[in-house]
Amino acid sequence: MSLSLAISLTLLLYALAMAVGVLRVLRGPRAQDRVLALDFLYIVGMLMMLVLAIRCDSEMYFEGALLMVLLGFVGSLALAKFLLRGEVIE
């Protein structure tokens, strides 16, 4: 019982962190702030998936989490390389 309570509380904390990250995406003064916040959102989503794996007692979420790490990496890298090309698009 205490475990399910802790899982719910952790999911709540993650959701709060994601809301703050979305605030940074919306507010970010420049494009790199938004890319950083999107990368952070990917990581928190992956952590949320790990916690859901514990909650549902299923190891299937693990593959999803691993895939999320890789997709977040590729996405952030692509966006950062796009910013490196020099054309300022704000």
């Binding site: 475990l3 962190a17 494009a31 950083l36 693990f62």
Partner: protein, 111 residues
Amino acid sequence: MNPASLAEAVVATLLLGSGVIVLIAALGLLRLPDFFLRMHAPALASTLGAWLATFASIVHFSHRGQGVALHVWLIIIVLSITAPVTTMVLARAALFRRRASDGAAQPGAGG
């Protein structure tokens, strides 16, 4: 305390620690004044937050199933390879953009 409730307590503690760490990282991402200061905050989530959540997952599935469920460790490994690369490329992009935007006005003030 029997082993089952002990494992549950350990998992709950690790998860709550991870949640608090990730929330601290998010607040740092929101409140720090400069982009290069702000870059430090998400590293907290991708190192300590991910470590704690992964340890919770390992303890839980090792306690549930047979043997030690170490495959969740892969997430830490992949994350610790990819997170510094993302940070470095993003920092270089930010430096480049800052130089490109105000480098013409004050040429000596690079970096």
